[in-house]
């Protein structure tokens, strides 16, 4: 069985915790000058969606999660589940709200997403790191205002709300980072 030592811990690593697959969200090395070293870890149980904190002794090993990470194309949402397709086999699979989590605000049809499978069932969906999405709602743009550095909220076609510069207008396409939820740039049509 594959396993990871605490010094391999990093966010995104998939491990088995209390019999469930989990992903590491945060890993902090903690060590008093005169004492044992520990890793204080925040993990997300991929079955329940619950976040837990666990402290490991540095050097301890933990079983790797028996999961498969695949690239799949997002198709549509039927109001309950999100549907994805394997671009090679054209096999379709549906993921529930637990698996999709915050990714739902970033999913655009036909985008290639990372889908983690456990026993063939999707347990985690991550959108592409960078997405290009259209602004569907924002206050009127202040044309030419590229200098003041002010921001305003803008709602994107997938439902995500990002802070954008004041000159952004409805209908424009923006490049965003889904990991930080930040606006990166305008995309010229």
């Amino acid at each position: 069985m594959a396993s990871y030592s605490t010094n391999e811990f990093k966010s995104g690593l998939k491990v088995m915790l209390d019999g469930d697959p989990a992903t590491i969200i945060e890993n902090e090395f903690v060590k008093p000058g005169k004492g044992q070293a520990f890793n204080r870890v925040k993990l997300k149980n991929l079955k329940t969606g619950k976040t837990i904190e666990r402290t490991f002794k540095s050097g301890e090993t933990i079983e790797a999660a028996d999961v498969i990470e695949t690239e799949m194309q997002y198709l549509y949402n039927d109001g309950q589940d999100w549907y994805f397709m394997d671009p090679e086999t054209f096999e379709q699979i549906n993921a529930n709200e637990n698996a999709v989590g915050d990714a739902k605000h970033w999913l655009k049809e036909q985008d290639i997403c990372s889908v983690t499978l456990h026993d063939g069932v999707p347990i985690l969906v991550l959108p592409p790191n960078h997405v290009e999405l259209k602004v569907v709602e924002t206050d009127p743009g202040l044309r030419g205002d590229t200098a003041t550095g002010g921001t305003k909220p803008a709602t994107l076609e997938t439902g995500a709300v990002v802070k954008v510069p004041l000159f952004i207008e409805e209908g424009e396409t923006l490049r965003c980072d889904t990991r930080t939820g930040e606006y990166l740039s305008r995309v010229k049509n």
Partner: protein, 333 residues
Amino acid sequence: MNQSWRPGASLATLRKRARINQLLRTVSEQRGWLEIDPPVIIDADAFESGIELIHTYDALNACANSLHSSPELALKRVLAAYPQLPGVYSLGPVFRAGESGRLHNPQFTLFEFYQTQVDLSQIIETTLDLILTVTSDQKAKTPPIVRWDYAELLAEYCQLSADQVYHAPATELAKTGKRLGINVSADIALNRDDWLNLLLTHIVEPTFPGEQLTLITGFPESQAAMAKTQYDSIAGMRIERACRFELYGGQMELANGYQELTCPKRQRARLSATQKPPSTHKTSNQSLNRFMSALEHGLPESCGVALGVERLLLWLSGNQHIDAVMAFSHNRR
């Protein structure tokens, strides 16, 4: 493009660092302390609890050596040889295997100083004075200083009695830890010092305000292998505690100080009682043997303090990661 060739610290931070080094040397010189360049390569296995050494190969003698984790052995040997000195210090790199994270780097800079003929309360004032000198040079505001007794601190934040703090078995401290929400992996065995440390790092330290200097004294005897101990009267009990202090800047350990153990017999006993990390490389331990010879010759009454220069700079600058206060941290080496 990969930017890891660049320094992690900004130019302004590197200037601050150089300035702090200079200040530490100036203050030491004013106090009459002698700067010593200790050997970085030592012939010793791990001898302190929780500190693993980085091993090197000594081609001259075809045996294992280590990189020092502090200049303690060398500085004390100088004091034993020249007891007329008011103090000695060194400012340079030290090494600890496996320590890497937001506040740790396998190599860091330690300012370690020893002052002769002073007790713990005097060295505490010297240390605070030194930190405030550096702080006033870097910041306009004088930080508040709060002093805690270890037993009172754990009573306040973990509802432990003094008897529990110094005597309760690990299982009882584990219950307290769990009650306070510390969730440890089921597969590990922890001793009472491990649990006390977890209470400190997980429960107590997060309550320290960022701007504040917090001083803790009264550590259990088991948590300072090279310090003197004394019997204190606490809650009607006589408890043997280490003559040790720990100084925090915000939630970070900045400096640790001991009233140094001078009795060779007690030192030998305490080092052999210390739980050492398993050593995969056997050295001939000459450095530790020579240190013991120096103790037998006679170490003057003294106190020593180790101050982490990167930590001090983190605290002063408000940076969140040690990479931002070093030219090249481990990941950029």
